[in-house]
């Protein structure tokens, strides 16, 4: 199962480090990363393979949510199906 991780907010140092640390500890594999500044807002999108994670998916979403709150950014991890369903025919 693949998931899409999005980070949106004011740019600051250590975002990728902190996010990938949690992913690595959960045994989630990063397949692709892209980032850009849109209208002054930092946005990063990661494609992550979560097939072999060593915890429940809800624990991973909670860890990302907590990290997001602590650095004042929105960090979400969602199954890729939701994006494919909404944007392709």
């Amino acid at each position: 199962m693949r998931a899409v991780l999005t980070v949106i907010g004011q740019d600051k140092t250590g975002i990728i480090y902190n996010v990938s640390k949690i992913l690595s500890e959960s045994n989630a594999n990063i397949e692709d990363i892209s980032q850009t500044i849109m209208q002054g807002i930092f946005t990063m999108i990661m494609l992550v393979d979560v097939s072999d994670i060593n915890c429940d998916f809800s624990e991973l979403t909670e860890a990302m949510d907590n990290l997001g709150k602590s650095i004042g950014m929105s960090i979400r991890i969602q199954h890729e199906d939701i994006f494919n369903a909404m944007h392709s025919i």
């Binding site: 999005t6 999108i45 939701i82 494919n84 909404m86």
Partner: protein, 452 residues
């Protein structure tokens, strides 16, 4: 894989524009719970619901986390209880409502619909017992919702039922008068009720449905409003196109959630009801979409035309996105549950008569409207008859959910709390309808019902 801007668009819809799945509703047939002994029937009902829906809430929450989209409500609809309880010798069906309430609490759903009777052409003994039990059932339970279908395009309108329902609504409000008549918020009077509707208070599980089934109700007025905000210079046909595209995306999200939950629960997927269902939250209002389209105040001239276009464009986008679109599908216009409607009602921009006109072009009807507590029951019945006539002639579902608020009158407000919101008491035409309602009988089915 979706492209960059699509991913950000979805995240923005969920985080900032209130995109959510309004409800996943499990339909459960109770036909196999029929028993001549009421006590045994209630035990079978409780056991069947708690067994069938045991994992509904947990699976719903799980999928909510995986897909990252909120599923606001998890609910249950059951076979109309008049059909089940009618087999017993009992006349008071309140114990059946309590059983439904207990089962709902046991599995953790916030509403259970189906304390219902379908009487377009006449009553069975079970129907009459059920209708007479509604006020006490809704006053003594917390999560049970009730509906009565009084008419259809095929059968005409049962005016004896219409007459009864005016009294029943008043009694529901009276028994819960210390909470501004909240009992009446859980009762819907329908014409052309649909048996696969996932939305409360009008959900029930029709007899043509499978044993258990999972329906999903999608919403998203905020998403539609933001989409059209970006196109202030667009013509109405261009706006229709934008609304269609937005509805498509919302529907696809709902279809994915519905089919995934159904698969995990090993039940068939039923329908997807694509209704723009507002909440009292800012940014989740249908009225504000109409105002964004260019009508200064919801309820002002142009409102009906704007709503007609919105309702139609939503359906078109949804139908393209899923072959399972059903239920009511369109736009809801409940007054107390829509922040823009509440404001329009407070400022006097919207009247009951305009709301009635609006119901001709959108789904459902006079919904969540607080009226003075001293409104005569016959006036309520006549309002039900008017709304049912619109449904019958136009071959669409119409519903009435009116709340006569005891001890309050025009200028005051009813406070229901939560999703039910706040309702300014609206003025009702004082013309006397008692002679019309006293006639009783039936309004025959319209000529265009003879299609065979």
């Amino acid at each position: 894989m979706a492209v960059y801007k699509d991913i950000i668009e979805t995240v923005r819809m969920i985080e900032r524009e209130n995109l959510d799945i309004r409800t996943i509703t499990m339909g459960i047939s109770l036909m196999d719970c029929i028993d001549s002994d009421g006590k045994r029937a209630r035990k079978k009902i409780y056991d069947k619901i708690t067994r069938a829906a045991e994992h509904l809430v947990a699976q719903g929450e799980r999928i909510e986390t995986e897909l990252g989209i909120p599923i606001v409500n998890k609910r249950i609809s059951v076979t109309p209880i008049s059909l089940i309880a009618g087999a017993t010798a009992e006349t008071d069906y309140v114990p059946f409502a309590k059983t439904l309430d207990d089962a709902a609490k046991a599995v953790g759903v916030n509403f259970i619909g189906g304390f219902s009777a379908l009487v377009p052409k006449g009553f069975t003994r079970g129907d009459l017992n059920l209708i007479n039990s509604i006020p006490e059932a809704l006053a003594k339970t917390e999560r049970v919702c009730s509906s009565v279908n009084v008419g259809s395009t095929k059968a005409g309108i049962n005016m004896d039922a219409v007459s009864m329902m005016g009294e029943i609504i008043k009694r529901c409000a009276y028994l819960t008068r210390d909470q501004d008549g909240i009992g009446a918020t859980k009762l819907v009077v329908f014409c052309n009720a649909v048996d696969d509707n996932p939305f409360m208070a009008g959900a029930y599980h029709g007899i043509g449905q499978p044993d258990t089934v999972l329906h999903v109700g999608v919403s998203g007025p905020g998403v539609v409003k933001v989409a059209i905000e970006k196109h202030r210079d667009a013509s109405l046909d261009q706006l229709a196109e934008i609304i269609k595209k937005t509805a498509f995306k919302i529907t696809r999200a709902g279809h994915l959630v519905g089919t995934t939950v159904a698969e995990r629960l090993h039940v068939p997927f039923g329908i997807l009801d694509l209704s723009l269902a507002p909440t009292p939250a800012i940014g989740d209002s249908v009225a504000r979409i109409l105002e964004e389209m260019g009508v200064e105040h919801c309820g002002g001239p142009g409102t009906t035309a704007a709503l007609a276009m919105l309702n139609d464009a939503v359906k078109k986008g949804g139908i393209m996105a899923s072959s399972s679109v059903g239920g009511l599908s369109g736009a809801f216009i409940p007054v107390s549950e829509d922040e823009g409607m509440i404001e329009a009602a407070r400022a006097g921009h919207i009247s009951l008569e305009k709301l009635e006109a609006m119901t001709c072009v959108c789904s459902v009807g006079l919904d969540m409207i607080a009226i003075p507590g001293d409104t005569p029951a016959t006036t309520l019945s006549a309002m039900i008859a008017d709304e049912a006539a619109i449904g019958m002639i136009n071959a669409k579902t119409t519903a009435v959910r009116l709340i006569p608020v005891y001890g309050k009158t025009i200028g005051e407000e009813a406070e229901f709390g939560g999703l039910f919101g706040t309702a300014p008491i609206m003025a009702v035409n004082s013309s006397d309808a008692s002679a019309f309602i006293a006639r009783g009988g039936r309004i025959p089915a319209p000529v265009h019902s003879f299609k065979n």
